[in-house]
């Protein structure tokens, strides 16, 4: 049973590593430089002049909250609804991502750009800040009927690409930066420690369980 369980976990890890993570396809070029404004109650905010790529699978919004509300998002080209997305309440931090659902395969956002992104914040308990950079009034984010002093940063993520295992070299290299020990030794130590955790746990289970 123990061997079967460990094998199953190994297969799970292999499956995860075969999965290709979403990667950054494009940003709207706005840096996360300043807080444009905030809302402590339910709000609707819209930003025009966006050009999402055709294969965007989700968007990452320049929002910050300690206890984020539910987000309902729409991408529109004029009056035409191109895509929707929702994210449940309870997120926190910056860069909240919202998966997109394109309404039809032909709803090509590139052809239809410029696109307006509207988000509705429902059941706000903790302040939500809009993050971005100052801009002209025409390009700025509109929230609750008011024009904020700049544009919100928005990133577009796409699916597919290279699987995790193809990034192993990068991960090992990056683990060697910014630590007390430099280089590949950090990855080696982490693997040895994880292996020893498995060995000691398995030994104990075999010893103790009837």
């Amino acid at each position: 049973m123990l061997a079967a369980g460990l094998l199953l976990i190994s297969l799970g890890i292999a499956a995860v590593l075969s999965h290709a993570p979403q990667t950054l396809a494009k940003t709207n070029g706005v840096p996360l430089a300043t807080k444009l404004g905030g809302s402590r109650r339910d709000a609707v905010a819209c930003q025009a002049g966006e050009a999402p790529p055709r294969d965007a699978a989700s968007v990452r919004l320049g929002l910050f909250s300690m206890l984020g509300p539910k987000i309902a998002l729409e991408l529109r080209a004029g009056n035409r609804l191109l895509a929707t997305g929702t994210r449940g309440a309870g997120w926190d931090g910056t860069d909240v991502s919202v998966p997109l659902r394109w309404l039809s395969p032909t709803a090509s956002p590139v052809a239809a750009s410029p696109v307006a992104i509207c988000l509705r914040l429902d059941a706000v308990d903790s302040e939500v800040s809009f993050l971005g950079a100052d801009s002209s009034r025409e390009q700025a984010l509109h929230a609750q009927g008011a024009t904020l002093p700049g544009r919100m940063r928005i990133e577009y993520l796409r699916s597919g690409g290279a699987p995790w295992w193809s990034r192993m070299g990068t991960v090992v290299r990056n683990l060697g930066f910014g630590h007390a020990l430099s280089g590949g030794v950090n990855a080696l130590i982490a693997i040895l420690l994880a292996t020893s955790v498995i060995v000691v746990s398995s030994w104990l289970l075999l010893r103790e369980l009837p």
């Binding site: 049973m1 123990l2 369980g5 199953l8 976990i9 799970g12 890890i13 995860v16 993570p21 950054l24 996360l32 990452r60 300690m66 206890l67 509300p69 539910k70 309440a89 309870g90 997120w91 926190d92 931090g93 910056t94 860069d95 059941a123 706000v124 308990d125 903790s126 302040e127 990133e155 995790w164 990034r167 990068t170 991960v171 290299r173 990056n174 683990l175 060697g176 930066f177 910014g178 630590h179 007390a180 020990l181 430099s182 950090n186 130590i189 982490a190 420690l193 994880a194 020893s196 955790v197 498995i198 000691v200 746990s201 030994w203 104990l204 289970l205 010893r207 103790e208 369980l209 009837p210």
Partner: protein
């Protein structure tokens, strides 16, 4: 009591007499009596936390820059931080800048530094002869000093190295405390379920492999010691309920309370439950010898009170941050309506009841804040699994709950016999939850204290729940269920580590 239980209960007594007859010093004999399995659980937790300490980038655990600054202030100046502002010593500030800390924390899209140029710049900055002294420790400034005082040992050991060297050594001490947490969780399960030796390892390993314990014990954070001393407290109470209150166990209980209170303010939440337990134990002991019971109770209270009074006396004169925080919190809490506060704390953990004012709209706090948080919320609460993982986790959680309920129902008579003990653990849990909930209410920013690590002082109860759930599978399947529970815990830990690796280094 079953034959196995009686046999098990007698074993330590026999071991004691053997130990004495060989003339070993008492403490050494006690250490030799710690079961190998408990030591193995401690080793697993310690190794796991050390692994987390390597994988988690420096300062990317909750409030780690502030905790490091507290230790640096204590080590470099010999005094406690005098300010809760967040401008740290130049040596720490330059390390944070070199690691691009402001751009990474709370920003799940941003990884750590990833080029040789950035690494070279960091190494250059770390080598600069900058001051290590500061007076500010951010949010940590309000915490009592015991954990930080202990951390000055690895800090000094690494004084010839860089900030990152010292931080790495300090994280190792936290990992040691993680090992102690698992050790005491095992011992607690052993006292609580004396007739099921195989289940002790299930509980102990379940605690040792908890990824949240690994992350916090792999970082510089007083919670690491708080978890260990809380688990020790649960163990000592269970031991006293099973074997009776003695002067020695009373002193140990008092010492654990004192250590906990000098480690983290939120530990105070456990104290009312402990007092209730001491009272119940003393009443029980008084039936045999009122004088001995009174002496034991006095010993426990005095052992707990003397270090705390000393601390209060020493620091009352300089208007320290620590005492300020206690009085400040009390003032804030008393400022609002008690009913609203109770309603808020209830909804912080549980679904709103009819008639209550709504404080959390659009989310079920039990599920979103606590269940999801325990499933996976790492780094600065900015590292999460994809949504489907939290949905999928409901399945094993439901199975565990059903097995646990089945075990409790099957052994309801034993539960009834130990109802006072159960009430004490419930009071300790309620006290801890109340302290965290009231802090969130007083803070004024809903959800800022939503961190699941605040539940880990009850990790011994989690270990017991896992052991009971295994037992709930019935005599025939219980060992298999136990193995499955440990394997699930291991998978949870492994995938959590992979998540953190992907977030920072991918």
């Amino acid at each position: 009591m079953s034959a196995a239980t009686a046999q098990d209960a007698a074993a330590p007594a026999r071991a004691t007499s053997r130990g004495r007859s060989r003339g070993r010093p008492r403490i050494r004999a006690r250490i030799h009596r710690v079961p190998v399995a408990a030591v193995a659980c401690a080793a697993v937790a310690c190794l796991n936390a050390t692994c987390w300490s390597i994988v988690l980038p420096p300062f990317e655990a909750p409030d780690e820059p502030a905790h490091f600054a507290y230790v640096a202030t204590l080590a470099e100046t010999g005094s406690l931080p005098s300010s809760n502002h967040e401008i740290f010593a130049p040596a720490e500030e330059i390390a944070l800048a070199g690691l691009h800390f402001p751009a990474v924390f709370f920003r799940p899209a941003e990884g750590t530094i990833s080029t040789q140029g950035e690494q070279s710049a960091l190494e250059h900055d770390l080598a600069l002869p900058l001051s290590r002294s500061g007076r500010e420790a951010g949010v940590a400034a309000t915490e009592p000093p015991l954990y930080y005082a202990l951390q000055t040992i690895p800090y000094e050991l690494g004084s010839g190295g860089t900030v990152l060297d010292r931080l790495a050594l300090m994280r190792l001490l936290s990992a040691f405390f993680g090992g102690l947490t698992a050790l005491f969780a095992y011992l607690f399960v052993r006292e609580a379920l004396p007739g099921e030796p195989w289940a002790w390892a299930v509980g102990g390993l379940g605690a040792a492999l908890a990824p949240l314990l690994g992350m916090i014990s792999g970082a510089v954070n007083p919670d690491a010691l708080c978890f260990a001393v809380s688990a020790a407290l649960f163990y000592l109470l269970a031991r006293a309920f099973r074997r009776g209150l003695t002067p020695a166990s009373s002193v140990a209980l008092g010492a654990a309370v004192a250590i906990g209170c000098l480690t983290k303010l939120s530990f105070l939440g456990l104290v009312p439950g402990v007092l209730l337990g001491l009272l119940a134990l003393a009443i029980r002991a008084a039936a045999a010898s009122p004088r001995r019971a009174l002496a034991s109770l006095t010993a426990a209270l005095a052992t707990a009170a003397v270090p705390l009074l000393l601390y209060a006396t020493l620091f009352a004169h300089d208007g320290s941050q620590q005492l300020g925080e206690i009085s400040g919190s009390a003032g804030d809490a008393s400022g609002g309506s008690l009913l609203h506060e109770l309603e808020y704390v209830w909804q912080f953990y549980l679904p709103r009841l009819p008639g209550m004012t709504a404080y959390f709209h659009g989310l079920l706090t039990t599920r979103v804040l606590w269940f999801d948080g325990l499933v996976g919320l790492y780094g600065w609460l900015d590292t999460t699994f994809p949504n489907w993982v939290y949905e999928a986790a409901l399945l094993p959680a439901a199975a565990l709950t059903m097995l646990l309920l089945r075990a409790l129902f099957a052994h309801r008579s034993a539960l009834h016999d130990r109802i006072v003990e159960v009430a004490v653990y419930a009071a300790m849990t309620a006290g801890m939850l109340a302290v965290v909930g009231v802090s969130d209410y007083a803070n004024g920013v809903p959800g800022e204290f939503r961190e699941p690590r605040y539940l880990l002082p009850m990790i011994a109860l989690w270990a017991l729940a896992l052991a009971l759930a295994a037992r709930g599978a019935g005599r025939r399947w219980a060992p298999a269920a136990g193995a499955l529970i440990v394997l699930t815990s291991f998978a949870h830990d492994a995938f959590s580590l992979l998540l953190v690796v992907s977030r920072y280094y991918g």
